[in-house]
């Protein structure tokens, strides 16, 4: 008889070997599927996946851009999630941050660029923070369900974005805002070290470090951990659950608002209802898989972007149905998640005999 047994004694290197083995196994199975369905050489398909993610400096920087975005949002979710406040509203927080940033670009175009960027940063964070503050105060005062509340806030943000898109429409009747300041580049991220997306990366990495330190070494981080574990314990320790809830979710929303700032100033240079593009939801996976450790989030974001871009690449290169490439990516993700099971448990044959 096969039984599931908990294991506690796996060493770090064994864990990583297990994870690696899972990926290899997933690739082997995918190879069989690829060959069976398309008769293509699986190695070539994999090669092109890699090419499509890391192939040229240009492609590599596009990957970095996407990773930075996802990472920034995941890091933003970490404080709220650590407090067991399920912020599903990153999408909306990104959008309102984006609106604030775009508004600055449109109305404050005559400020010096550095100052403009700082103003955009602050206002985007404030807007995102407000979008976190509202559900947080409702939760603290009225004990509303934060999952529903933050989700609803997303729809408000989307409607708000639609409004501003129409309001700022250029040219009239096009139904979109278009690239903002296409000639002056006001409010655009400057190139750093010759790279367009360097600033995106730097902001994301700084946030990774800051949030990690915040959660691990500050009093507020300690309060978040206690509130997340038990409200009773928090009260016992003299922590105001309400104040910590409001403060933490506001911070969480503010960081997601910064992600909106990056999305507008650092890549799209425009605003539309698809500015967030579902990243706010995918980042939830990032935050969870990384167990709210912001450094782990770098790896997880990279993995998810790799799978997404790889799927797009092979779909276009080999003329494979887009859905098949998604299936292949799904299998890889499934194996990676499955490997966690084998890290925590083992299967054992039962030795119980008949008497």
């Amino acid at each position: 008889m096969l039984r599931i047994q908990k294991r506690t004694n796996m060493l770090l290197w064994q864990r990583w070997i297990t994870r690696l083995a899972a990926i290899v196994l997933a690739l082997v199975i995918n190879a069989v599927i690829i060959f069976a369905l398309t008769k293509l050489n699986p190695l070539k398909v994999y090669g092109s996946m890699f090419e499509g993610v890391f192939g040229t400096p240009l492609i590599l920087w596009d990957t970095i851009r996407r990773v930075s975005m996802l990472l920034c949002i995941g890091v933003g979710l970490a404080p709220a999630f650590k407090m067991k406040f399920w912020n599903i509203g990153a999408e909306g927080q990104i959008l309102v941050g984006g609106i604030a940033a775009a508004a600055c670009m449109i109305y404050l175009g005559n400020l010096p660029n550095a100052l403009l960027l700082v103003v955009m940063f602050v206002l985007a964070a404030a807007a995102g923070g407000l979008w976190g503050f509202v559900p947080a105060i409702a939760k603290a005062r009225l004990n509303t369900n934060e999952t529903l509340f933050t989700l609803m806030m997303n729809y408000i943000a989307i409607q708000l974005t639609s409004f501003f898109v129409t309001f700022w429409e250029t040219p009239q009747g096009s139904g979109k805002v278009g690239i903002i300041n296409p000639n002056t580049y006001k409010g655009w991220f400057p190139q750093l070290f010759g790279q367009r997306y360097m600033l995106n990366l730097i902001i994301a990495l700084v946030l990774v470090v800051l949030v990690f330190l915040y959660l691990r070494y500050t009093k507020q981080g300690y309060e978040i951990a206690v509130v997340g574990e038990s409200h009773n314990t928090a009260k016992y320790a003299g922590i105001s659950v309400q104040a910590v809830t409001v403060r933490t979710v506001t911070i969480s929303g503010a960081i997601c608002g910064i992600a909106g700032f990056i999305a507008v100033a650092g890549q799209g240079h425009t605003i539309s209802t698809s500015t967030a593009g579902g990243r706010g939801f995918i980042a939830i996976i990032v935050a969870w898989l990384a167990k709210f450790n912001t450094f782990f989030m770098i790896l997880i974001s990279l993995l998810i972007v790799f799978l997404e871009k790889g799927a797009e690449e092979i779909a276009s290169n080999f003329n494979i149905n887009n859905d098949l490439s998604k299936v292949l990516m799904g299998i890889i993700l499934f194996f990676i998640l499955g490997s966690e099971f084998f890290i925590n448990y083992k299967l054992a044959l039962s030795k119980a005999e008949n008497a």
């Binding site: 206690v226 009773n232 314990t233 003299g238 039962s350």
Partner: protein
């Protein structure tokens, strides 16, 4: 042809081993349960009693070894298998659906009509003099009613072997006696009963035979007639233990806390504490006795500033150094600490209130003092030093300091909590059910610590449930009943029956009637 051998054994467990990861919960344990006997399964916490019985009730499956039920080999893979073999277990945490009635709970998962279940329950109740209303919803029941229902449920499902896991932990002395009467009745009907416990008096009072486990291994069995408290505890602990609780004489008695007109209402506006008044002195242990839910929790939490009190209440704390008086009513937990009042509180719910289960020992040491760090950062060094000190002074057994406290055993969790609370040498120390679920050694270690605090001039308020212990440990005992004080007695002269009556009997009722008027 041979005559069939008469089988005396209801259940035989042979060479059972069960491991969880690296922890060996049961090692090569063999245990026989005879027909028509009451067997006590005795052992300290973490000795593997419950695990062993869970393998009979289908919760766990043994790694190795075999089980014979009524002489036949049995594979118990699920509670359903156990039920088919007529084995029923009453778990420490009840397995009842709150929103269902008694009858609905009993027939859950069975092919029976509600009507027949109701009738059957009535019959069982008559037979054993239970009073269970088949149509009462579980959430409306008291703890002892729920337990009765669990037993009725097991009987309704035809159990011949009944396993009770720490059944008396939640009962008053009177309820315990009633339960024991029922157990004797069931034994008369030829049923086999296993009672898991670590209370020696109960073992002696009820069982025919005692089997003892220690650290997952079977250490022996003994006819109850031939056993006494000392031999049992020695077998259980593995060496000779002293069973006397010290009660040093009170010295330097001075007023530390004067509580007057203290009333507390809960969220629903129900009066939980009604006009409570008492004085706590330095250098003494004031015991609080009462049935669970008589207001003990509210009393301590009100003093600690965790719940609001009704207007008119007053809790005057007198600072031993300055003689300054502060009314604690005006402050919450945070302000009390900010005022420099050294008040320690070991709450009943250790992992749900006193500690953070997912954090390690040093981080838990921070809980009451994390605000002391500079520049918005938490101090890393002090809690680490304190953690080391607590671990070494109180013999906390932990794989290492970084283990989340949730993964420690109950006794070690409590030591971490008590150690932290005592670290500040509190002038007022409150502890609720500080030894609940702890083994003998740890319990005595806790009593010793409370006594030390008393001798060093602390005022100690100790909420307990074991009357024998309260009477041995405390200088005075305040008895609560339905949120009112039904009396304060001298711990050196009071009798157990007297206190028991104050908890439940006429004195209590009169207090309740007064409250109603």
């Amino acid at each position: 042809m041979e005559n069939p051998v008469v089988n005396d054994y209801a259940v035989r467990m042979l060479n059972i081993t069960k491991t969880f990861g690296t922890t060996v919960a049961n090692k090569n344990v063999s245990l026989d349960i005879k027909k028509g006997e009451i067997l006590s399964l005795l052992g300290e916490n973490g000795s593997g009693k419950t695990t062993l019985m869970n393998m009979l009730s289908g919760i766990y499956f043994p790694d190795s070894g075999s089980i014979l039920v009524d002489g036949k080999s049995a594979h118990i893979r699920s509670p359903k298998d156990a039920h088919d073999l007529k084995i029923g277990m009453i778990h420490q945490h009840f397995k009842l659906v709150d929103v269902f009635t008694a009858a609905e709970n009993a027939k859950l998962g069975m092919r029976a009509s509600l009507k027949s279940a109701r009738a059957e329950i009535k019959k069982i109740c008559e037979r054993y003099h239970f009073s269970v209303d088949p149509d009462k919803k579980v959430y409306e029941m008291s703890v002892s009613e729920k337990q009765t229902l669990e037993i009725v449920k097991a009987l309704y499902r035809g159990a011949d072997v009944l396993i009770l896991d720490e059944p008396t932990a939640v009962l008053t002395p009177q309820e315990t006696d009633a339960l024991f009467d029922v157990m004797r009745e069931m034994k008369k009907d030829g049923k086999s009963i296993v009672i898991i416990t670590h209370k020696l008096n109960e073992v002696l009072a009820i069982s025919d035979r005692v089997a003892i486990l220690r650290k997952g291994e079977f250490v022996g069995e003994i006819e109850t007639e031939k056993a006494d408290v000392q031999t049992l505890s020695d077998m259980m602990v593995g060496r000779s233990v002293s069973l006397n609780i010290d009660r040093p004489e009170v010295k330097d008695k001075s007023v530390r806390l004067v509580v007057k007109n203290l009333s507390v209402k809960d969220n629903l506006g129900v009066l939980r504490l009604d006009d409570v008044a008492f004085t706590a002195y330095s250098g003494e242990i004031l015991g609080i006795a009462g049935i669970t839910g008589s207001g003990q929790k509210e009393l301590l939490e009100a003093i600690a500033g965790l719940i609001p009190t009704a207007s008119g209440s007053s809790m005057i704390y007198i600072d031993p150094r300055t003689g300054k008086e502060e009314d604690l009513k005006k402050y919450d937990a945070e302000q009390i600490r900010a005022l420099g009042i050294s008040l320690a509180f070991v709450p009943e719910d250790r992992l749900g209130m006193g500690l953070v289960g997912s954090m390690n020992i040093p981080d838990n040491m921070l809980l009451r003092s994390y605000k002391e760090g500079k520049f918005g950062l938490v101090d890393q060094k002090k809690p680490l030093d304190l953690a080391k000190k607590v671990v070494s002074e109180l013999d906390v057994v932990a794989p290492n300091l970084n283990t989340p406290v949730r993964k420690l055993s109950g006794g070690n969790v409590q030591k971490v909590l008590v150690g932290r609370e005592l670290a500040s040498s509190p002038s007022l120390m409150m502890a609720a059910y500080a030894v609940r679920g702890l083994d003998i050694n740890t319990s005595y270690a806790i009593y010793r610590l409370l006594n030390e605090r008393k001798l060093n001039g602390g005022a100690v308020i100790y909420v307990g449930e074991d009357l024998d212990v309260l009477l041995e440990l405390c200088d005075r005992i305040l008895v609560l009943c339905g949120g009112r004080v039904s009396g304060i007695v001298d711990g050196r002269t009071a009798k157990k029956e007297q206190v028991g009556l104050m908890m439940t009997g006429s004195q209590c009722e009169s207090a309740e009637t007064e409250a109603a008027n």
